[in-house]
Symmetry: C2
Subunit: 221 residues, 2 copies
Amino acid sequence: MATSTVENYLKAALLYEQEKYGIVPMGALVEALGVVPGTVTTMVKALATQGLIEHEARQGVRLTPVGRALALGVLRKHRLVETFLVQTLKMDWSEVHDEAEALEHAVSDRVLERIDEFLGRPAADPHGDPIPDAEGRIADTARQVTMEGCAVNKILRVTRILDQTPDFLAYVQQSGLKPGARIKVLRREVASGVVRCEIKSGQELTLGLPAAAKIVVGAVV
Amino acid sequence: MATSTVENYLKAALLYEQEKYGIVPMGALVEALGVVPGTVTTMVKALATQGLIEHEARQGVRLTPVGRALALGVLRKHRLVETFLVQTLKMDWSEVHDEAEALEHAVSDRVLERIDEFLGRPAADPHGDPIPDAEGRIADTARQVTMEGCAVNKILRVTRILDQTPDFLAYVQQSGLKPGARIKVLRREVASGVVRCEIKSGQELTLGLPAAAKIVVGAVV
DNA sequence: GCTTGCTTTTTGACTATTCAAAATAGAGTA
DNA sequence: TACTCTATTTTGAATAGTCAAAAAGCAAGC
Ligand SMILES: [Mn+2]
Ligand SMILES: [Mn+2]
Ligand SMILES: [Mn+2]
Ligand SMILES: [Mn+2]
């Protein structure tokens, strides 16, 4: 059985892989796990011995198929637990990440299956992050469009928030841009670096381009 | 923060204390935790240093008020989680113990409060074991009566199963003696060592005295 | 009092994970 | 080419928890 430390390392590598391309530098793991560099070197060697990752000296790591499958399982648990905490237990979407960070290591596959069924097999978590299915398949999010680059004057739906720091989530909540919200981008002013948009009931809102780039939108269903 | 190992040791000591009187012998912890005796001696010293138990050399341990409070918190998590798994996620009552054994260390107080509220602040878990409240108060079960010693020819309700081995739980389930079931003890034959009783819809059932002693009954509400 | 048998403790060793601090490799720069 | 800066690795040490096996304590019986 993989320890929770092992699971955290693999999940961190997976998330980095999904965001960037190719190899995961040691520094990315240092950052994600909050440990000193020497610790990562040590752990990475151990994980490589176990066949979960490949370690290119002075370069970084790459997940093996076994390691990736394990990481996808942990990510699935994390996101289903988050969804459960928000939908069923009515917790605030900004506080569920830390809870899921611990529960993802304690929820068994049996319990997870129950949760998945109970929730009706959701495709995304409260932040709009896609949930891998039981076989480890996960929706491709490479071509998602954000408020920074979407069509103008068209009603769209917020589907995902890329920046999940508490501050940004609080801002998103308070300004009504949570996943599910319907919005319309009115215009983009590149010179001043702002995006002007309309949210439900005609209210208008102005946000900076970097913030707009963190809000993924899609067609209204 | 107490590690899950520490929590398991304290909970084991608490459960033993509740069943028997006074001091908890080292062997009881060896048995409950599934480790070798030397390990218990080592851990017990560490727990004593942390002020969670008192260690009487060659005798055993006793929980300190701090240790007992911690243990009651873990027991509360365990039993609320079991209840949640059965009532909300529809898991079988015979399989939830092991799941709760892991989840009790990962569920935060915040999540626990949500679960407690969601379930309507239950007083007992699926096995009928009392759930400590948030302040650590737990119902006194010292004078509970079992089918071995209860009144005869009176309709009673099963409230608790004391033997929670999978085999016994399966027997209880299949013979309709789960907590909540209404039963009537018809007569006790001390010579042959059996108890004859009637369960719902007039079916009769015979069980041995040791088995009867594991089924707690109370007045019908 | 001496021997038996069971419980508990001691000792020595091992794994997993971590940090601090020093050493080193590379990449880019002057 | 030599220097500088940063990322990574090495080394040495610590903590938590565990086991195996030997030693010690103690109660009971002879
Ligand atoms: Mn985690
Ligand atoms: Mn999420
Ligand atoms: Mn446990
Ligand atoms: Mn129980």
